[in-house]
């Protein structure tokens, strides 16, 4: 019942499903490595989806729409940064407020676009390669967002591990007092990291409303921002593990639909919960293998300089 054509289509769908999560969680990972827990991912993502759609619809340009989505994510992340970093408010409460604000604002922006549609982002076609069996479409037949997510992954991995700015960012996340004593602008660096998180969440939203399901509907993110947050914990704050987590989650959520189509006779409610069960199981395994969870030591702790 599984032939090469279906397998190829399944792999292509998995890559697409994983991309939204990968982009959003990469941004949150950077914010958290700098020591800030931003629960506003869902809100920034939906605002990105709404502003991206509205701009692309008005201008006819997907590129402009994507840029506007990134900008919108950054703007909303600045609301969070202002509260949580500069006023040192509770990060959890500020993040939740950001999400709720984002959902409301997005509904307002999008209300004029309900029932309209766009042509989604085109997919890459390389004659010879895209037609390859099984992996052809998955690897060589995706849209720009998919390739951007992988470039982003490489850039974040390299920057965090190999560059001076990455080292400073991690230092701020591990011990903000020491970083401050060394003369690093803790709050400034955290703000930049949160802005990067907002940009990524906005980009993930654009992937949803401009490529995955190219229309606007309120609440179309349907909780993907929260899954992105869970994936950061799942990855133990390592970008490469994030890739594994996002693709595992994408794989399970696509495969369960196919399992139903084949009539395997497993209860659909159980199948629908599989992605979440897989995430919990992986978390258990990871924490059993390691001593700590690998969380940045200053994560979630507001920084207030002495003077």
């Amino acid at each position: 019942m599984l032939d090469a054509a279906i397998l190829g289509a399944v792999f292509a769908s998995i890559v697409a499903a994983a991309t939204t999560l990968l982009i959003a969680s990469l941004g949150e990972l950077v914010a958290e490595r700098a020591g800030t827990l931003n629960l506003g991912v869902e809100g920034m993502m939906i605002v990105g989806a709404a502003v991206g759609y509205a701009t692309a619809y008005g201008s006819g340009s997907l590129l402009l729409g994507t840029l506007a989505a990134v900008l919108a994510g950054v703007l909303l992340s600045l609301v969070f940064a202002g509260l949580a970093i500069w006023l040192a408010t509770n990060q959890v409460a500020s993040g939740l407020a950001t999400t709720i604000l984002g959902l409301g604002v997005a509904g307002l922006i999008g209300s004029n676009f309900v029932g309209t549609r766009l042509d989604g982002a085109p997919e890459l076609v390389i004659p010879g390669l895209t037609d390859l069996p099984i992996i052809g479409e998955a690897v060589f037949g995706q849209n720009a967002y998919v390739y951007a997510s992988l470039v982003l992954l490489a850039a974040v991995t390299y920057t965090l591990a190999r560059t001076r700015i990455g080292l400073v960012l991690r230092a701020v996340g591990e011990n903000h007092a020491a970083a401050h004593a060394l003369g690093h602008p803790v709050r400034g660096i955290r703000t930049l990291a949160v802005m990067f998180g907002g940009a990524c969440a906005g980009l993930a939203g654009a992937h949803l409303s401009l490529a995955y399901t190219p229309f606007w509907a309120s609440d179309m993110t349907a909780g993907r921002g929260w899954i992105a947050l869970a994936l950061v914990v799942f990855s133990a704050w390592r970008p490469l593990w994030l890739l594994g987590g996002a693709y595992l989650f994408g794989a399970v959520s696509i495969l369960q639909l196919h399992a139903q189509g084949f009539g395997l006779g497993i209860p659909s409610q159980l199948l629908s919960s599989l992605p979440y069960l897989a995430t919990i199981a992986a978390l258990v395994v990871i924490s059993a293998l390691k001593h700590g969870q690998g969380a940045p030591a200053s994560l979630g702790v507001p920084f207030v300089p002495d003077r």
């Binding site: 279906i6 309900v114 549609r117 309120s218």
Partner: protein, 360 residues
């Protein structure tokens, strides 16, 4: 001193009286509220209910004041929302999802002077009416079209939750399909959600990848229609006319038109003639409307129109016997039709569906 004090008391009580009088004046305006399970911007189920609400506003103007609460999850949260609306002075409250049934009944008990209207449920009370539309009538037509249009002989079905309303839709579509092609196959995918566009699109893609070339859905967003369009498959719109999302894909759509019902019920509340009723309107009552038949040859279109006319006139009933269940047992005998209450509590598949009802 005492004089000043009594004056103050007099002024205060005067103010209180004025304050009490003000809401009484405002109450002459009938307050009506709607509770939606999804966002009004879903362009599907909740969107259509909200179109009905807007029709009420347009019809009654400043005699009625309407409000709505969207995105209310089914369960305890719904009870809180409905309770709040009842306390806020709403005279009639429409709760528009199956899962609001128990919360609606609970709140209705505490507010005997408020009229409640619950969509798609089956439990009523003195101040709780139920209403629904016979969407399965439309699905019978879809089944016939699917059987004519499918080259693979397989129709894909994106289902939300295994409740009678959804299951009767699947059965009706299948009976329609079998009336044209007795060997028609169906693939069913449950997404366990009313509204998750990306997941609905994934489900549509999975069904198409597995060989279904006509997609039907019982979820609320146009994502599946759009996925069918991009993959060159055909599809049926749900709740709204989704032709914009599938100009080459949409064959037709079942459009919910709640406006006639809402206007009638609000009128009854205004006149004071409201009583608890059970309304189940179909094509005949204008509640189930078919979008134009598109992207199909003329003979298929003629067949669909004839079937629609027959159902509207009552000459054809989607659940007319003989109907067999999956085990091959006769459930509806030749010459009989399935009673409404049996359609409303349906939890079994008809013969020819190669799948099991979830949880059975």
């Amino acid at each position: 001193m005492r004089k000043i004090l009594s004056m103050a008391v007099a002024i205060a009580s005067g103010l209180a009286l004025a304050g009490a009088a003000a809401p009484a004046k405002a109450a002459e305006k009938l307050k009506a509220a709607w509770v939606y399970v999804g966002p009004v911007g879903d362009f599907g189920w909740s969107y259509q209910h909200d179109q009905g609400r807007l029709a009420v506003e347009k019809k009654f103007g400043d005699k009625v004041e309407t409000t709505f609460v969207e995105n209310v999850s089914e369960g305890p949260d719904a009870e809180r929302v409905i309770e709040q609306l009842a306390r806020a002075g709403n005279k009639i409250i429409f709760t528009t999802s199956f899962g609001f049934m128990e919360p609606t009944l609970k709140v209705a008990k505490r507010h005997p002077n408020v009229y409640f209207e619950h969509a798609t449920g089956f439990k009523r009370a003195k101040n709780v009416s139920t209403y629904n539309a016979k969407f399965h009538e439309g699905r019978y037509v879809l089944g016939q079209i699917a059987a004519k249009m499918s080259k693979t002989g397989t129709v894909g079905y994106i289902a939300s939750f295994p409740i009678p309303e959804v299951i009767s839709g699947i059965n009706s579509l299948m009976l329609g399909a079998q009336s044209v092609n007795p060997d028609m196959k169906i693939k069913i995918v449950w997404v366990n959600s009313w509204f998750d566009p990306a997941k609905e699109a994934d489900a549509a893609k999975a069904l198409i990848d597995q060989g279904a070339d006509v997609i039907s859905q019982h979820t609320d967003s146009p994502a599946a229609m759009q996925a069918a369009e991009s993959r060159g498959a055909k599809a049926f719109g749900q709740a709204s006319d989704m032709i914009k999302f599938g100009p080459n894909a949409q064959l037709t759509a079942i459009v919910d038109d709640w406006a006639p019902y809402y206007i009638e019920r609000v009128q009854a509340a205004l006149d004071g003639t409201w009583t608890s009723t059970d309304t189940w309107g179909g094509m005949k009552d204008g509640e189930v409307v078919m979008a134009p038949y598109t992207n199909m040859p003329d003979d298929v279109k003629k067949m669909a129109e004839a079937t629609q006319a027959a159902i509207t006139s009552g000459a054809l009933h989607p659940f007319k016997g003989p109907i067999l269940n999956q085990k091959g047992e006769v459930v509806v005998k030749e010459g009989e039709v399935l009673a409404d209450k049996d359609i409303l509590s349906m939890n079994w598949y008809v013969k020819g569906i190669d799948d099991t009802v979830p949880g059975k």
